[in-house]
Amino acid sequence: MGRTVGIDLGTTYSLVAYVDKETKRPKCIPGPHGSTLCPSVVSLDRDGSVIVGEPARRRLLTQPGRTIYSVKRLMGRGPADVAGELKIFPFQIDPSSENVIRVRLGERVFTPPEISAFILRELKSWAEQYFGESVDKAVITVPAYFNDAQRQATKDAGRLAGLEVLRLVNEPTAAALAYGLHEKQRGLVAVYDFGGGTFDISVLKLISTDQGDIYQVLSTSGDTHLGGDDIDNELQHVAREEIMVKFGVDIATQPAAAQELRKALIAAKHELSLSDSAGVKFPLADGRMYARTISRREYDQLIAPVVARTMVPVKQALADAHMKPEKMEEVVLVGGSTRVPFVRQVVEEYFGRRPHTELNPDAVVALGAAVQANILETGVQDMLLLDVTPLSLGIETMGGVVAKIIPRNSTIPASAQDNFTTGVDNQTGIDIHVLQGERELAKDCRSLARFQLKVPSGPAGLARVEVIFLIDASGILQVAAREMHTGTQSTVEVQPSYGLSDAEIERMLEESIENAEQDFSERQLIEARTEAEVILRATEKSLSQTEIAIPADERDAIETSASALRSAIAGQDYKLIRVRVDELNTTTTPLAERIMNGALATALEGKQLDQV
């Protein structure tokens, strides 16, 4: 059985974290480049291999047509939803896109969950290298304001990456969990989470009970398309206009130059979080230079409309929780965009108190996810998250009007029952359309799914079907139906309006296994070697312990097995390595048992030798 990790699958960066068994503190896991931040960038190499993270980010400049960033913006969305984004983001939406978007990278097309799965797989391998053990389960965070389709897409990505997603946790809730642990906070807390592509606000009540602490979300609101990307776009807009006017060059038509300019402006943005002004220098292809200085004052004015947009959900969330801003006892800032001084100023003025920024805003969500992953993995339930659904769930009724059945900000899991009957004689099915959103009319809400309830043919009104709509603890909809007269449980085939069907995911899993035959054996080799190194280190450590007497023949046997394993590691056969690992495990068992029974037993507390 593999380990469980917490993953923050972010728009700009993704992170993986775990809880250290010794310190009981959550910790982020670094990747091969030493950083715990994995840029959420994926690139397809000409040889067909997939490159993720920092090396992929560098390829944004050299191979923009084979490289994608901010794919989170496309999760759970249809082609029509993202038409506006295409003006700003260089996504290459493939014409084959129907309900699910397909993005072109070089010669291949991928769905957003497949691209996200590449990022998750990368983080999974970071953790596996770090632990020397396999990782097969995860808690993944999502923006609190993500709808059902966006959540389902995230869960699908996990599945495609070979991870069982135990729970999706809302990002601000995860942040509150990390802060609560850090600060021992109690009472009413507002979490303002302004990331690379999404904005969330959650109002929580932290309560101490006999069994442990409860993190109860009272309300949440947000905008899944509002983030640091929008600040970048404001800067790009100004720079592109100025370049057009001054040099007569349209940067938008030159993908590589556009990425170069974007990079320079992001650097300036970061500089403006620290200094009162920042310089931008951007050489044009013909050698001319676009150079200018941006003052903090000019910057603040430029981004004021973006920051103002965050205050709409903030007010909504407080109103829904029946709260006033001054009632909040703590305000927590999360997400990279809260490094912007003007954002901090606006939040501080609104709530009338200095917000918490002690924890790294990039890492705090992953740390909270690790805490929840640890609770689910160990079963030690000393904290409880009670989260809410961000959007009302409804069913389309006569005239295209939506009947709300589960109101927004209901604690999840939440459910609702509704009864349906036939309207005409010999009708054999009842069509049901499920939606999410706050508007009155179906056309203004988000379509989640349409399905047909099969009923026995008969006079109108005879068949009665009871349908149970249930939103689970991850915020994902489940539907069950029962025919009242016969009592038969009918299976409900829910075809998601904007998502992959089970069959499609199965097919992708199969294809990825075929394509990845090579990857697979390479990965197996890496995993087997890592495992072998762990057991070799542990063996050496045990042999060097002078407190335990080791008979000479036993020592010889162990050393023979160990050297056989060392030569296996030097080879390419992962199966042989595994055989040798098992052999070494067998020869060291008597020693391990003596150590366990010996004076060190208490210190080791029932661990296997290979974990010492």
Binding site: R167, G379, P413
Partner: protein, 199 residues
């Protein structure tokens, strides 16, 4: 209901409408620790299904029970005594005159808004002030309804304590249903005015 017959017994409480909400919250938290799916991640599929069903029911119950109005609505619906007025859109007789005036003002506001859209200079401040006054008036009536409901809730609780018979209970529930219908008519009115004023 999986546990007892109704939401009241789900929380181990008598079927009374005036309630110590701090106590209700405490019980909600205790039950959450027991039933939440986080506790059953490693359990069998059957146990996970049961946890999901029971914890969603707990959350549904708490949502219905935490506000006084929700408790009345739930009690009536559960007893089959929630009957919406036959003429839902018709004003209660005692409000007829005020509603008539209100609708006139709303028409006036819409007309003057249209006129100003077509360039005509028209002052809407007079009619707005009138509507704001009407909104306040009806909002007060909403509070009156809540107070009325609270009085009947007290009568209901006394009847429960006294072991009142079905007939007495039904009579009280009918009274509550009437107030609910009147209240819902007024609330729609207030929302309508607020929406017009917000334009």
């Amino acid at each position: 209901m999986a546990n007892g017959n109704d939401y009241f017994s789900f929380f181990g409480l008598p079927q009374k409408l005036r309630m110590d909400t701090a106590e209700l919250e405490k019980r909600f938290h205790q039950l959450s620790w027991k039933l939440h799916p986080d506790n059953f991640v490693r359990a069998s599929e059957k146990e996970r299904d049961i946890s999901l069903a029971l914890s969603s029911e707990l959350n549904d119950a708490y949502r219905a029970m935490r506000e006084p109005l929700g408790r009345v609505e739930y009690l009536l619906a559960h007893s089959g005594m929630r009957k919406e007025g036959a003429h839902k859109q018709q004003a209660p007789p005692e409000l007829l005159e005020e509603v008539f005036e209100l609708n006139e003002s709303l028409d006036e506001l819409r007309e003057s808004r249209e006129a100003s859209e077509h360039g005509a200079d028209s002052a809407t401040s007079g009619v707005r002030a009138k509507l704001e006054a009407a909104e306040k008036n009806f909002a007060e009536k909403l509070e009156e309804s809540d107070a009325q409901l609270d009085v009947i809730a007290g009568e209901w609780d006394a009847a429960i304590d006294a072991g009142a018979d079905d007939t007495a209970r039904r009579a009280l529930m009918t009274k509550m249903n009437d107030v609910l219908n009147r209240r819902s008519y007024i609330r729609n009115l207030v929302n309508k005015v607020a929406a017009e004023l917000a334009i």
